[in-house]
Symmetry: C2
Subunit: 239 residues, 2 copies
DNA sequence: TAGTATTAAATTGTATGACAAATGGGGCAA
DNA sequence: TTGCCCCATTTGTCATACAATTTAATACTA
């Protein structure tokens, strides 16, 4: 059976299939509750062996996207069962376009997490970690005119703070919520000069953390998140 | 090839294998960086066909626990790559015993999430949702003397607040972090009369939310989470 | 001798075919 | 009508063969 796939020639077949079906689910081509084609037919249609198809389906099952039952078939599970914090699930959603409501939900989570994260960083960060935060902030300042580089530097900045907070689970959550933020930042940066205007807040966060001023760190970060949330809200409203 | 498994006769073979290997990883039988036995041998040792083993491994791979490479083998990934918010990953960790540090990290996340969750519930909850919160609180009061029932009622209470906050992603996170909390509550409830002493705070949260008093709801919830965190901290220190 | 290209071995990746087990529905009987 | 049984459909499991990939040893060359 030949591999005709025009897209990614150097990628394992099962990974391609996982991605393909995953995207089909995210794009609502298969809606929750729908029953997929049975395995023999689906493997025929996708031009792969049943083994590959099954391994792909099992991976989707592990992410909570589908459920299996003999005789009934493989069914797309309700969205509330999806592992929404799985990196692939997030990425696939991004590829087909995030729901605005989902982006706003992420903003709310950030509003809950980031202020206390900054506080913990001020309390627990090592000298090296604080120095790195300052480096990241300076890096943002340096590339403030380049939208793409600025987004990357901004992510690095927030990640550095997260590392200094010394909470592995938190790092995982924030790391997973990073890519969607990057997507929303692309929307945000349509707001002219948003980057430049956000720099003072970034500097005050950096200063507060480096001075071990927990209260100021938490409060500045809250202001920053509120501000970027408003930017995103405006950008989404403009659509 | 016979299924001699003495444990769960009514469970798909691949699910048993996923669980078995998953637990082996959690219990540090396979440490991060370790290379698993190659598939033919491992399938022989586990007494299953290579297909079943591969489907199980793919599921573990989808959860970030292992990575595959031809020639090199299947390797356990570093803990930082694990999908720590995957329900199975959490559950398996619980079965082999949570690390105290992990429980404290969860407490910190709660401290970040729950106060604002309560605030949002006060702002956005429908009349029905608020009534349900009150019901849950009353239920806690009714079973305050039964440790097991109290834990269940407490989870339902916090979940009801989360639902009223109208944030799907938040529900997912809190729902995933629920079972570990249940485990830590078992530890907590060794503290005598902790249940009874926590009821006033629960009632003030309930009252604040039902009165749409955002500020009081947030602050009461913060006090509650801080209080339970201290209980857990004390219980862990006593070990 | 050192550096590079070639080859070979080990492991995962893929395909195929066959049969077992579970399940849901339809038909049959009380 | 209601309960039971049987059967068709679908996933679950097994076995085997071969392809593709990658690492490492090996040979070859400058």
């Amino acid at each position: 059976m030949a591999k005709i796939s025009t897209s990614s020639p150097r990628q394992s077949l099962y990974k391609q299939i996982v991605r393909q079906i995953g995207l089909s689910i995210m794009s609502n081509k298969f809606k929750p509750g729908d029953v997929l084609l049975n395995e023999p037919e689906l493997s025929l249609q996708l031009n792969v062996s049943r083994s590959v198809l099954r391994e792909a389906l099992k991976m989707l099952g592990a992410k909570g996207l589908v459920a299996f039952r003999p005789r009934t078939g493989t069914r797309v599970r309700p969205r509330s069962d999806w592992n929404l914090l799985d990196p692939d699930v997030i990425a696939w959603q991004g590829e087909v376009g995030f729901e605005p409501s989902f982006l706003l939900e992420i903003c709310e989570i950030r509003l809950m997490l980031e202020p206390l994260t900054a506080r913990f960083a001020a309390t627990r960060g090592t000298a090296e970690e604080l120095a790195f935060i300052k480096d990241c902030c300076q890096q943002m300042q340096d590339v403030v005119d380049s939208t793409g580089d600025y987004i990357i530097a901004d992510l690095a900045f927030h990640n550095a703070i997260c590392i200094a907070a010394h909470n592995e689970l938190l790092q995982r959550i924030m790391g997973t919520l990073g890519p969607p933020l990057r997507a929303s930042r692309v929307v945000t940066s349509r707001v002219p000069r948003a980057n430049v205007e956000a720099m003072p807040l970034h500097w005050s966060i950096t200063g507060a953390i480096c001075n071990r001023d927990e209260q100021a760190a938490e409060e500045s970060m809250r202001q920053l998140v509120l501000s970027t949330t408003q930017d995103i809200q405006r950008a989404l409203d403009a659509l």
